[in-house]
Symmetry: C2
Subunit: 333 residues, 2 copies
Amino acid sequence: MFCNEIKTSLFLLCYVCKFACCMGQNEDPLPSWNDRQTKQAIVQFINDTTTAGNKDYIIPEDRIAVFDQDGTLWVEQPLYAQFIFAMDTVKSNALKHPEWKHQQPYQAVIERDTDKIKNFTMEDIEKLIAASHSNLSVDEFKDNVQSWLSQALHPRFKKPYTDLIYQPMLEVIQYFKNHGYKVYIVSGGGQDFVRAYAEKIYGIPTQHVIGSAEKVKYEYRDGKPELMKLSEVFFINDKAGKPEAIHLFVGKRPVAAFGNSDGDRQMLEWSQSSNGRSLQLLVHHDDAAHEYQYDTVSKVGTFSQQLMDEAKRNGWNVVSMKEDWKIIFPSDR
Amino acid sequence: MFCNEIKTSLFLLCYVCKFACCMGQNEDPLPSWNDRQTKQAIVQFINDTTTAGNKDYIIPEDRIAVFDQDGTLWVEQPLYAQFIFAMDTVKSNALKHPEWKHQQPYQAVIERDTDKIKNFTMEDIEKLIAASHSNLSVDEFKDNVQSWLSQALHPRFKKPYTDLIYQPMLEVIQYFKNHGYKVYIVSGGGQDFVRAYAEKIYGIPTQHVIGSAEKVKYEYRDGKPELMKLSEVFFINDKAGKPEAIHLFVGKRPVAAFGNSDGDRQMLEWSQSSNGRSLQLLVHHDDAAHEYQYDTVSKVGTFSQQLMDEAKRNGWNVVSMKEDWKIIFPSDR
C-alpha cells in the first residue's frame, strides 16, 4: 500500500519534471537559421513526425537521420582535410622512406609541387592514403589523426579544421537528437579518420560514423591482440555505396538525409523511398564571402545541374548558405 | 527569479524520481541464475563498472557489450536455424528450378537425403545460402525470414525457434542495458537473417546486430530504389572476423563479451585487451536433459580443449548450463 502510494506520487512528480523539460521547447531550436522555407520545412518535419497522433508520426525506433560530412557539416575546400592529413603524414615520414624522393606521387608532396598536386589522379590519392593510413594499429592511427588535428590550420581561415564546422547544421543535429532521432554520419571520407574527432565536435559517437573503410587484420603483437590497418580498400562509401552501407550498418531506411553533392544523391533517394514521411536536404555552397561558392570543382564536391533538377523534381530542400544561414561557424556567434 | 526557483524545485523533484528508479535495483537482476561464481562475477562487474567513484568505473560511452547468438542466446542444435531456413526455402522454390532435381546439393535437400545432408561441405552450404538469400530485395528477404519463423518448428522441442532463447541470457542482456550498456549481437550467422527477429525476441535493434553479410546492390526497379541482395559474400563474421567487424561497426573495444565456441575466441581476447576492467563469458553446453551436451560436433559449435585452457588461463567465466542456470527457456518459468 505504502509502496503504491509512493509510486503514484512519484509518477506525478515525474510528470512535472517531464513537463518542465518540455518548457525549453518554446525556444528557437535553430537560432542560426533565417526564417525561410527550409527552416520551416525542418521544424514542420520534426513536429509532424514526433507528435503522437499526427498522421506522419514515426515511432522512435525508426527515427534514423543521416548526414554527409565534408561540405555538409564542415568545410571541404580547398581540399578535404583527410587528404591534407595524408600529405602532411607522407612529408613527416619521408626520411623513413628515401625511395619516395624519386617516386610519384610522394615526390610531388615532399617537394610541395602544387602544379602536380592539383593534377593528382584518384590513383595518386589512393597511394597517399595508403602510405599514411596503413601498417598502423587502429589505436596508433587514431592518435596520429588527433595529434595532426591539434596543430594543423586551414590555409584560408587559419583555424583548426575542427573549428570549421557549420553552426546551423550542429543545431539541426541537436534538434533531431532532442526529438529521439538516431543521428549518423555517412561520409565518403575515411571512417577511422572521421571517428577520431566526431564525438568531440559533433557529439556523434564512433558507432554512428559510417565512412569508407580499409580492411583491418586481427593479429598478435608481442602476444597482445591488435587490429592492424591494411592498405586494401574494403568499401567506398560514396554514391550508391551510401545506401548500401546504411543497410549494412543500420539495417533500416533513414527518414531524413542531409548532403551537399552528387555523392549524396542515392542516399537521399533511398531515404525517400519508404512509404512514409521523410525529409531531404542539400547544402548549396553559394557564400564566397563567408565560406566558398562552388557547384562543380575537379577534386572536391560536385553539385551538378542534374542533382539540382532532381532536387526540384523530388521536393528536396536546397539550402542557400548565403540566404538561409545567419552565420557559418560557431566562432561567428 | 521565478524561473530559477522553479528550476531548483524541479531539480529536487527529479532527484527524488531518480532515487525512486533505483529502488528496483534491490530485486535480483538474474533470477534464473543459481547463486554461484559466474552470477557473482556478472553482478560484481556491473556494480564495479557503473558505480561512480569505483576504481573500475567505465564511462557510459565506453559501455559496449557483445553477444554471440547461435549457442549463446538461442539453441544451435541439431543445425543452425538459418541453415534449416535455407533448405526449406530451396525445397519451396524447387518447382521454379527444375535443374535442381539433378544438381547437388539441391537434389539432396529436395529428396531429404539425410545422409548426404549430414556430409555437406562448406561449399554446399554456401550454395544453399546463396540460392535462398539472394536475388531478393532486402525487404523481400526480411519478409521471407519472418514468414518462415512464424511456422517452422524445432525438430526436438516442437516449438518456434524464436521461443528457444535462453532466459538466463535475456536477463543478462536486460541487466546490462539497464546499466547503460550498449548491447550488440556479433553473430557468425547472416546479419539480415538475425535482424529479421532480433528486435522482437531480444529487444536488440537492427543497428546493433553485426553478422556475416552478403553484398547488396543499389538499383532501380520500376523507377523505385531498391537494395538487392547479391550471392557474393561480403565478409564472414567469425573468429578473427569478429573483432575486425566490431571495429568496423562500433569503433571501440567492447568491455564485455559473451560466446560459446571457438568462433568467439578472438572476440573475447579483444575485449580483454584494453587496459581497464572487462568481463568474458563462455556458455558451455552440458545439459543433455534440458538442452544439449556437446563440445565438438562436425557442423555446429565447437568448444575445444584449447578454448577451455585459454578460458582458465585468462580468467574467463565458463557457464555450466546444468549448474549455473535454473531454467533454460522463457517457457520453463
